[in-house]
């Protein structure tokens, strides 16, 4: 239905011999179609990874082993992390980048459309391989998503499946990132200077460079695991002159920039949503750009704060403590600028704004616990406890995931030409926000009281807060079912919206019709349009 409406509305595009039916998706080279596939894929993985989280919280509802074997429990924690990071959050960002970057910089499409098709279609194969490891002898990978040797080498038949699926995900991410960089660098409309670009484009540009820098590092690390396992090398085996801690250094040299890969685009979305619903330009635009760049730079020199207990020299521990604490400064600048954007604004609270505000409060809480974790002597007590689990879920769920939700609720009317059911979206927001806190806040208490992470069973004094956390998890998981329902309703029906779906929205995407034409900007937008969008 939507397709036909789109075709009819834009006859001038009909000379494009775009494929129909299944070919439209398999042979897709259009940025919107590929963006849609990325988002649908991410949503699917979000529910698969979420189902694994439900298994974890079900087993942890009370002490004693009730449902799963400890080995399967370890597989669940490992696979939950891999599916959520590489299958849900990262593809969701690439999907949003595909949809929005060409529209926001005044381009007809992404720079490399066939590469775009390839980078998406790698993913279903990568995750089919990874998820099918649940059914091989020995079960799915169970050594943690961090894949520390020697433990990871104890995985059975799933081990090579894990390594090859990581290789494929990495290749997909690198190709997607190259496409983003090339599009931003070459396809901007004349007059769209770098410092006129929307923050979402800026954060994605920096994210793309991070991806290109660190995904090969991860690929190298897992390849060394592969040769250690099958070809007799001893990179990480002390008995052969290797070093298991070296893996951790290499892994976290990838891993820390990776956490900013997951969060920087959320910074971009929040920087678009808050000004829109404050009806006021972003405060300190240039400071925001420089803050993101500083965070990206610092992310390369803080990796060993993930491994303070491995026994590093004093000087190294001091260095990584201080460099980590430095991240608080650009992050603080961002939080203050968002707050200053609302100051003397004219605020309204539509669903995207609600998610952005929850992001602002709850991501900041994750930032505080992050600062606490940087303090090495205190980290000795926090390391590998539920305090860490609470910390990174606060920055990843009400952080990255709420950022994605804010983006989808912000641009869904643009994509479909329809307004969604705001009442239902408000329900989705309030249920998510309440339950996410019920789920993760008590985990701070559990960690401080001494509960280690990645354990399938616990001492009885931890029962009460674990029950609360599990109830929060079930509530959060169920509330998410509203999301696909709401999107389905919006695509099928819903009131028509104009070009500018939100009163205070600025930026080139809002100058296009809703839904936008097949090739977003077939003619470059005028300088006046660009200036109107770049209202900072």
């Amino acid at each position: 239905m939507a397709d036909h409406a789109l075709d009819a509305a834009h006859d001038h595009d009909s000379h494009d011999h775009k494929p129909h039916g299944w070919r439209r998706w398999v042979y897709a080279t259009n940025h919107k179609d590929i963006g849609t596939m990325y988002l649908v894929f991410a949503c699917t993985m979000f529910f698969i990874g979420g189902a694994m989280a439900m298994v974890i919280r079900l087993e942890l509802f009370k002490p004693g082993m009730q449902f799963v074997d400890p080995q399967l429990f370890n597989s669940m924690t490992t696979m939950h992390a891999l599916v959520m990071i590489f299958g849900a959050v990262m593809p969701a960002w690439t999907g949003l980048a595909n949809w929005m970057i060409p529209m926001q910089v005044g381009a007809p499409d992404m720079a490399l459309p066939r590469l775009n098709n390839f980078s998406f279609w790698i993913l279903p194969f990568a995750f089919t391989l990874l998820l099918s490891s649940l059914f091989v002898p020995g079960g799915a990978p169970a050594g943690g998503w961090t894949m520390y040797p020697p433990l990871v080498l104890q995985n059975g038949a799933s081990f090579p499946m894990l390594i090859f699926s990581i290789h494929m995900m990495g290749a997909s991410s690198i190709l997607g990132a190259i496409n983003v960089v090339v599009t931003i660098m070459n396809m901007r409309a004349p007059g769209m200077t770098l410092l006129r670009m929307p923050l979402f484009v800026w954060t994605w540009l920096i994210t793309a460079y991070l991806l290109i820098a660190v995904m090969p590092v991860l690929a190298g690390a897992v390849t060394m695991l592969l040769t250690d396992h099958f070809f007799g090398t001893t990179f990480f085996t002390a008995a052969g002159g290797g070093d298991p801690v070296m893996f951790q250094h290499i892994f976290w040299f990838f891993g820390h920039p990776e956490v900013y890969i997951l969060i920087l685009p959320a910074f971009g979305i929040v920087s678009e949503v808050i000004p829109t619903f404050s009806r006021k330009p972003l405060f300190g635009y240039e400071a925001m750009v420089y803050a993101v760049a500083s965070i990206a730079f610092l992310s390369f020199i803080v990796w060993a704060h993930h491994m303070f207990t491995v026994g590093m020299p004093l000087a190294a521990q001091l260095f990584f403590m201080l460099s980590t604490m430095l991240i608080a400064i650009p992050t603080g600048v961002k939080v203050f600028n968002w707050t200053a954007t609302m100051w003397k604004g004219s605020l309204s609270f539509e669903p995207p704004m609600l998610f952005a505000l929850a992001f602002l409060f709850l991501f900041t809480i994750g930032g505080f616990s992050g600062l606490m974790l940087a303090i090495v002597p205190a980290d000795y007590q926090y390391q590998d406890t539920y305090f860490v689990v609470a910390h990174f879920h606060y920055v990843l769920v009400p952080g990255a995931v709420f950022g994605i939700m804010a983006g989808v609720y912000y641009w869904l009317p643009k994509w479909t030409g329809h307004m969604y059911n705001v009442r239902l979206a408000n329900w989705h927001f309030w249920l998510s926000t309440i339950f996410v806190n019920v789920l993760f806040f008590p985990q701070h208490f559990l960690g401080l009281a001494g509960m280690p992470r990645r354990i399938p069973d616990y001492a009885v004094q931890f029962t009460d807060w674990n029950m609360v956390s599990s109830i929060g998890a079930f509530g959060f998981g169920l509330s998410q079912l509203l999301f696909p329902l709401l999107i389905w309703q919006c695509v099928r029906s819903g009131a028509k919206v104009g070009n500018r779906a939100w009163e205070g929205a600025h930026g080139l995407e809002w100058e296009l019709p809703s839904p936008p034409p097949y090739h977003s900007w077939t003619e470059a937008p005028s300088d006046a349009l660009i200036a109107r969008g770049a209202s900072h």
């Binding site: 491995v310 001091l318 609302m342 090495v376 009281a449 004094q461 029962t463």
Partner: protein, 289 residues
Amino acid sequence: MMIRARLASLALALAAACGPTAHAASGWHLLNMTPGVTEMSRTIYELHMLIFWVCVAIAVLVFGVMIYSLVKFRKSKGAVADVTLVHNTQVELVWTVIPVAILVAMAVPAARTLVAIEDTSKTELTIKVTGFQWGWEYDYLDDGVTYFSHLDHASNAARQLDSTIDPNTVDNYLLNVDHPLVVPVGTKVRLLITGADVIHSWWVPAFGVKKDAIPGFVNEAWFKVDTDKPGLYRGQCAELCGRDHGFMPIVVDVRTKADYETWVKAEAAAQKQAAAPADAAAPAAPSAP
């Protein structure tokens, strides 16, 4: 067993009757780290509380301004946006410099504590700790005492998937071992920590000590328990180490110096005797925990 189960259910009933005042059977009061029983663990606790309160103060300030904005500048209340307010160098300088000062103020005590933690000189007793799948081996290097420490039988029976035993009836469920590590009070004990197979991590929260046990590496850690705090202190492996990672607790039995001396002498003699006739290499289990 029966008596303990009955006592536990009695305690539960009492807790239910007394409400929140009865802490024995509930975990609601477990909200924070404990100061522990060593000078170092107290220093770490104070550092943790310092940074916690700094974060709370910043949160009150920042969230206060946010909430004020949300209430005050609502479009529904007729607020009109001041679109010229997009930049203010002075304010931006202030909110960059003040955090720097706060961070420096936090880094100084943290660095001082870290330097003290790393000082493993002047230790009086050295014990080699080896993590394995799944338990710990303790080796008193100067006294010829060595033994293994595993999850105790009661917990192990109750934690099986098909077990019908209620964990609430088990004494220190999952936090009890067959043979605890025995150390004296008021003594700077140095641990040499390593791993036999995969990486483990030796953690006793009350001592403020967590150090990874890595195959091929020997890590150092130390603790000195207050002279007036003998007792049993419990911890767990903190690094994912495979299927039974959740089931390798640590128990440290801290005794007075005299009691420790008696124990270590008897233990050394017993192990020597056990080893002598058969010339067996396997160390015997200690006689009494």
